[in-house]
């Protein structure tokens, strides 16, 4: 008797791709064929969003007598053949099985932070403990001194994943060395970069690992109180954190005299109100203190004078989530991944024009080529890869010519960008680099806290120059002005927000100067993105006089009689592109 399990992806991606219909097709197909099989949901088993390859949805696993085969891009009409040939006949339908790129998506990844996401139930401490959770804290509290812990983290080479890449062990050591009766540890879960959701995935998928990391950090520095500063826009993360804290307290991992060690620790949650700048550590501290979230000058650094003037360690979610695994598996294990100065793995959110998008976790030092072409499956629709934007609004663009660049702190910063929190947006020939830079600048400019002049006024002026360039009013001198002002803002701003805000502009000028020049001199947008620089006109030879463009134009700019050549009045055209989209004969030119 064969035993068969059929799993259909019902994660958000799966449902969007028609997972429910596929599931129904399998159910009725099995009933018609009078075969029995267990049907399961492939993705929501552990209450996390699917971390698989959503671009290949609907994904279906057929596990026949323990032998798993995965089908990609399954539609309901494929169910019948899969049931007859594979479920009943025992021969998989080879042409529908996942291809090499599906395996490549997984093959190049190394999961540490995300290793238990999906495998353990984030709402059950027992599930985490069964997977080895809290063993690290037990080992630390029963057999390691504070110095042992710090040395181990230092030896692992772990560096902060919140953006700056500061060595975590050194940060802990500095704080540990300060003599103070009260110290704090804060987990930075503000994650405000547009498009970033790595910390969210870690918190929702495995909150106990973050909690365990905090406990270990608290022990190492001598803190008895910790805060998780998490944005209020992450209600599920907050809910699971609350639950995790409750469960950890019930199991004696929080509170007084943890595991009989004499060490006590309490954890509080503080909700952030959604200001990007509150992710900056000193602004975050001000926010917890009930002040407006404005950065404070450093020195004094938080490790010496942080929350309420007390020594404070602030670490990012991903940084802390690495800690229990490092303690469990050893510093050498962690350091075996990555490059000489950038150790371990990093979670990136891979988005943009690649075939396979989503969260990926890769060893530091992997090349952009491996990420984009192997994990990402290359550029969509066979278009030409142009650049990759890393590090979010503080980062920069790296051109296609540098595709063999290693992804680590040093290499990216040498290329004029940063690892940052891990945003990675792949751009192709249809993306206008000037517009991309302008987009990020719009964000940072609006999110500036307003404290210091170069950021408050300077980014506004940068943005105004970018706007006039994309509107076709750029002047020859604007490029020099952008570079000068951008550099001055970098030099004079108070905090990381202002210091990095010009990066998208400066790095695109560095690598894509010709695109700026096309906008300024020729008043043309080579990628045909900037509306004001486009001209829509009718190609006489192709126009059939169908009138679709005339009906579509909201500005009444198109005229022409039926079956005769139509024309566009340029003075009335609002460049919305409705005619271009409406014409079935490709008779509208967009230049």
């Amino acid at each position: 008797m064969t035993e068969t399990i059929i799993r259909v992806c019902m994660g958000p991606g799966g449902i969007a791709a028609g997972g429910a219909d596929v599931l129904a097709a399998f159910q009725s197909g099995l009933a018609d064929a009078q075969v029995s099989a267990t049907i399961e949901n492939r993705c929501t088993m552990h209450k996390v969003g699917c971390l698989g390859l959503c671009a290949k949805d609907v994904l279906v696993d057929i596990i026949r007598n323990g032998d798993k085969k995965t089908y990609e891009l399954v539609t309901p009409d494929m169910a019948g053949r899969i049931i007859t040939e594979h479920v009943i006949g025992g021969t998989p339908v080879a042409e529908w099985l996942v291809k090499d790129d599906y395996h490549a998506f997984h093959a190049k990844q190394v999961k540490v932070v995300l290793s238990d996401c999906g495998a353990v139930d984030p709402e059950s401490i027992d599930s985490y403990i069964a997977a080895g959770g809290y063993a690290a804290v037990r080992a630390v509290l029963t057999s390691m001194t504070r110095k042992d812990v710090i040395d181990l983290i230092k030896n692992s080479g772990l560096r902060g994943r919140g953006g700056a890449g500061f060595p975590t062990g050194v940060k802990w050591e500095n704080c540990s060395n300060v003599d103070a009766d009260t110290k704090y540890i804060i987990c930075n879960a503000d994650e405000g970069d547009p498009g970033a959701f790595m910390d969210r995935a870690a918190l929702e998928g495995n909150p106990h690992a973050v909690l365990e990391g905090m406990l270990i950090g608290a022990y190492a520095i001598g803190a008895r109180i910790g805060y998780v500063y998490v944005r209020a826009e992450y209600p599920l993360a907050v809910e699971r954190l609350n639950l995790a804290i409750r469960q950890a307290a019930e199991h004696g991992f929080l509170g007084e005299n943890i595991l009989g060690s004499g060490f006590g620790f309490t954890l509080r949650i503080k909700l952030g109100a959604g200001a990007f700048v509150c992710g900056e550590e000193t602004a975050l501290i001000a926010s917890i203190e009930g002040e407006r979230g404005m950065p404070r000058p450093k020195p004094p650094f938080p490790v010496y004078k942080g929350l309420w003037g007390k020594p404070t360690v602030i670490n990012n979610v991903e940084t802390l989530a690495n800690v229990p695994y490092i303690i469990r598996n050893g510093a050498d294990w962690f350091a075996s991944y990555g490059t000489e100065k950038s150790k371990g793995t990093k979670v990136f959110s891979l988005t943009g024009k690649v075939r396979n998008t989503g969260l990926i976790e890769v060893p530091m030092g992997i090349t952009l080529r491996e990420i984009i072409h192997e994990i990402g499956g290359g550029i969509e629709n066979g278009r030409r890869f142009k650049a990759v934007q890393t590090g979010g609004p503080s980062g920069g663009c790296i051109p296609a010519s540098m595709i063999d660049l290693n992804v680590d702190y040093e290499s990216l910063s040498k290329a004029g960008s940063i690892v940052g929190s891990g945003g990675m947006i792949v751009l192709d020939e249809d993306d206008c680099m000037v517009s991309v830079a302008k987009y990020f600048l719009q964000f940072t400019q609006a999110e500036s806290c307003g404290k210091c002049v170069p950021c408050r006024v300077g980014t506004k002026r940068l943005l105004e120059i970018m706007e006039r360039i994309t509107n076709g009013n750029g002047q020859e001198s604007d490029l020099d002005l952008l570079v000068k002002l951008g550099n001055d803002i970098r030099q004079t701003s108070l905090c990381g927000l202002g210091m990095t805000a010009p990066n998208p502009v400066l790095s695109t000028i560095k690598y894509f100067r010709d695109e700026y020049e096309a906008h300024i001199r020729d008043k043309k947008c080579p990628a045909k993105v900037c509306k004001n620089l486009l001209t829509f006109s009718v190609i006489a030879a192709a126009c059939k006089g169908c009138g679709a463009c005339l009906r579509a134009c909201p500005a009444g700019a198109v005229s022409g009689e039926k079956k005769k050549l139509h024309t566009i009045d340029q003075t009335r055209c609002v460049k919305c592109g409705a005619c271009f989209d409406a014409c079935k004969f490709k008779a509208i030119a967009k230049d």
């Binding site: 407006r292 000058p297 999110e447 500036s448 404290k451 408050r456 006024v457 002026r461 002005l481 108070l494």
Partner: protein
């Protein structure tokens, strides 16, 4: 003491001093807009940036503690150029209004624009525009001139303990105002007006009265209460047109609402300048001797007829201690009652 080198000059300062303090103590000027010696360091205007050996970026001298062996450069073509950019950016969002501005002559921003020779605006663009909306009788706030230095916010919080105003909004739209942009409804001590380095904050009473040139400053003591704050009377044509406090007075430049704004009684037409005696139902001028004699006669009559305890004396907190002493002596010894009090219970 800490020893450091600033612009090649050896400088010694107390522990806890900032690099800015150290430079200024050695007579080395560094421009600042948001810094105020009596308020906490802010680091917002970025004008006071200097280079310190071993630190890759320029740092603000107001927020950097002086450290042993530090080597500081306060002026170089690079630093001057960066400061100039900062000033150009501030001025790019500032009304070009100095001709009629209350702040002209005392405005630090104007002074630096002059010192740096700023004439053209390399960054033309949007300017913040606000409706005037001050219903209060004391302080005029022209927030288009505000450079968001935060001095007013800090003085109100750190010195006055009121925290009536703060930063609101983000980015370019950042604005200093009371919560929810309500009307200012505070103690009206005017400390914020005193520390504002621009023409953004002005006392309504002295707005459009006089520029600094034809004003004479008279240093004296506030007569309102026994605290005795030192004040500077700004006098024009023998009239007080404004009161401020000298920074080096013992009250460190701070005043209360009465001392700062309550000076108009001095030349009020309603003010009594000679004794008046009511005769036939009408108040009529009299000599001091005549008036005092009348008071003495009446008090003696009341005392003889009804006893001393039917008389009470109220003196003023605006009298000096000596005057108050004499007053209670008069009540107790001459009239013979303990019914004596004063109004310093505000």
């Amino acid at each position: 003491m800490i020893s450091l080198t600033i612009d090649g000059k050896p400088v010694s300062v107390q522990e806890g001093s900032s690099v800015l303090d150290a430079a200024r103590s050695a007579g080395i000027p560094i421009p600042t807009l948001c810094h105020h010696p009596k308020l906490s360091a802010f680091g917002g205007c970025r004008l006071c940036i200097v280079r310190i050996e071993g630190i890759p970026r320029p740092v603000t001298s107001c927020t950097t503690p002086a450290a042993e062996g530090m080597v500081v450069t306060t002026a170089s073509p690079e630093i001057t150029a960066l400061r100039k950019t900062v000033l150009e950016l501030i001025l790019s969002d500032h009304p070009n209004d100095c001709m009629v501005c209350e702040g002209a002559g005392t405005c630090t921003l104007q002074e630096y624009a002059y010192a740096f020779g700023l004439r053209d605006n390399p960054y033309p663009g949007e300017r913040r525009q606000y409706e005037a909306c001050d219903a209060n009788p004391f302080i005029e706030r022209d927030m288009e001139k505000c450079i968001a230095c935060g001095r007013c916010v800090k003085v109100c919080d750190e010195i006055q303990g009121v925290a009536a105003i703060n930063f609101t909004y983000r980015g370019f739209k950042t604005k200093i105002c009371p919560a929810f942009e309500r009307e200012l409804d505070c103690e009206f001590c005017g400390q914020c007006v005193q520390v504002c380095p621009t023409g953004a904050l002005t006392g309504k009473q002295w707005a459009r009265t006089a520029r600094t040139l034809d004003v004479q400053k008279v240093r004296t003591v506030c007569g309102y209460c026994g605290v005795g704050c030192e004040v500077l009377l700004h006098v024009q044509n023998n009239r007080i047109i404004r009161v401020s406090a000298p920074d080096d007075g013992w009250n460190e430049g701070w005043l209360c609402v009465k001392g700062r704004f309550g000076y108009r009684f001095v030349d009020s037409p309603d003010r009594l300048t000679e004794p008046l005696i009511r005769k036939d139902g009408v108040l009529q001028p009299a000599s001091w001797d005549e008036a005092l004699q009348l008071v003495a006669d009446k008090l003696t009559a009341i005392k003889t007829q009804h006893g001393p305890d039917t008389i009470g004396g109220l003196s003023s907190a605006r009298c000096t201690t000596e005057e108050n002493y004499l007053f209670q002596k008069l009540m107790r010894a001459a009239i013979g009652t303990n019914n004596v009090d004063h109004c310093a219970r505000l």
